[in-house]
Amino acid sequence: MSSVPHNNHPDSPTLSAYHDGELRGFARAEVEQHLTACPRCRRALSEIAALSQALRDLPRVEPPRDVRRAVLESVSAPRRRGRRLTWGIAAIAAIAALIGGYDYFAMPQNALSPMKAARARHSAPPKPAFSPYSAAQSPSAALGTNSGGANSHAALQPPAADRSAAPVPNTSAGTSAAQARLIVRSGQVDLRVRDVQGTFKKVSAIALQQNGYVADSNNNVTADAGSGPAATLTLRVPAANFQATLDAIAALPHTGLTVRSSSQDITDSFHDLQAQAQALRATRDQLMALLHQTHKVGDAMSVLDRLTEVNAQLDRVQSQIMSSSNSVMLSTVAVTLTPEPKKAAVPHAKKPSAWQPGHAFASAVGNVIAAIQAILTAAIYALVYLALPALLVGMAALLWRGFGPRMLTPILAGRGSGHRGRNRRA
């Protein structure tokens, strides 16, 4: 290539710039004039034009669809690099969510992990998670009778009034209480009563009085005293009437009572959901606008696909918002009714102050088992949580090894060293 003009031929950059329309004024006029007289430069120019056309004629490729989502995922979780890693992390998150979800549903309420259960033991959980001794050890000894663990609910239908008369909750009453912070309240009342059936009806009536309803109930009419709760009810009442409901149930005639209530602040996650919904709506509107602008069927189809995807996401987020606000407006009260045991059925009905070596031994064994179980569970968690990252790191290392040497091979081959280079030549 030469940039020296012979016989006033324009040099390559000048001819190239002329072709591109980047020459102005005198320079342009000069080239134009030269071209009229020089077939060689005309040929060079037409060659430039032909090559440019060849480049423009290269087929256009469509970007893969999942890139946009991968970008959004990686910006919402900082310091990700590459799609493989992003997917790996997504997989870990999914597995963690599965484990978490399983634990949540598999374990009894207030006992999300065995550790927690071991700590919560002293506040008398109604269903021991794994230790047959934990209920008997409970300080509110009046309730500690369901040492058999599994409750044999006969799953009889509750009285017809319970299900049919569930009114639509007066939701406006609940909202004023939680305007600044969004609090989900839930309570648990364990009652030991002489008349389980009578109390069952009274509790149902309380739910109605408080503008609430019985969401779920289980009434085991054949339950023997001492075999665990004979009836359970789950009430949903407006948040404003939550305390009144607890008080009313506690005021029913009973021989033993445990009341627990908890509240959970979901303000932050609720606002997150709202922001997500807002962003999704903005995206949807833009896609709609884009849809009106597209003229090609293929473009319109891909916009429509995105639109469908965004709408589905929006629906999911909105239903989460609905269920969150629903659980803020309506508190949950779980009631268990346990019949009064016969004296003979309770082995530890002695005075609580008496020295009980057997009991102490049993509780010690129970504690040890609980501790071992907690440690083992933690180890299993650690194994599961660490195994996948380790696997991914291993895969990344393998990939790197796979790519690295191939890039280096030419150097090694060029210097005549390295067995890979030699192998390839052979």
Binding site: S3, A44, E47, E62, P63, H271, D272
Partner: protein
């Protein structure tokens, strides 16, 4: 107060999100094609497209208004590609057309397979043009950039752009004709 701030943050995020979506809708296809022609591999182009738009999202604060946007997005894409090509030591491997001599027709070994499998002369020829020359050639010819826009995008002077495009054409033509024809001098 906290809620107000959170709301503002959420709104800002929603705005950012919408802006990003608009940019992605407008630029993803041309940028993907640009990257693909620059690196010559679709899988890698998809990765680089993602990386480019992650950078775009993270630097939305410095998004210029109006006509400056296109060079801005292309600059991010070009730098992302150069980074990766440099990281994989491709830039130093690929031939460099020199004014004083013939371009070395050396091709990276891995590319040879693809080269003969593809049998697409234009694509092959383009592959033989060094990336630093390929980028301005593509920007002008395929993406319709003026020399001034290319200068802004690549951080060069217009004179350098002119020179590089000319050299790119020479290299491209030589590769295309497989060294069969003499260069214009």
């Amino acid at each position: 107060m906290v809620i107000v701030n959170r709301r503002q943050a959420a709104l800002a995020r929603a705005e950012e999100h919408a802006l990003f979506n608009a940019l992605y809708a407008a630029y993803s296809a041309p940028i993907y094609n640009y990257i693909y022609r620059l690196v010559g591999d679709r899988e890698q182009a998809a990765d680089l497209l993602q990386e480019t738009f992650v950078k775009v999202y993270r630097s939305l604060q410095s998004l210029p208004q109006g006509a400056g946007r296109t060079p801005w997005v292309y600059r991010i894409a070009t730098n992302t590609c150069y980074d990766v090509l440099r990281r994989r030591r491709l830039i130093s491997w690929l031939p460099w057309t020199r004014d004083d001599g013939m371009p070395e027709p050396a091709v990276e070994e891995a590319d040879l397979d693809e080269r003969y499998a593809l049998r697409e002369n234009v694509q092959d020829a383009l592959r033989l043009v060094p990336p630093s020359l390929r980028a301005p050639l593509l920007l002008h010819t395929v993406h319709g950039f003026s020399y001034g826009d290319i200068a802004t995008t690549l951080g060069l002077t217009e004179a350098a752009v002119k020179m590089r495009i000319s050299r790119a054409r020479t290299a491209f033509r030589q590769a295309y004709h497989d060294g069969g024809e003499e260069t214009h001098s």
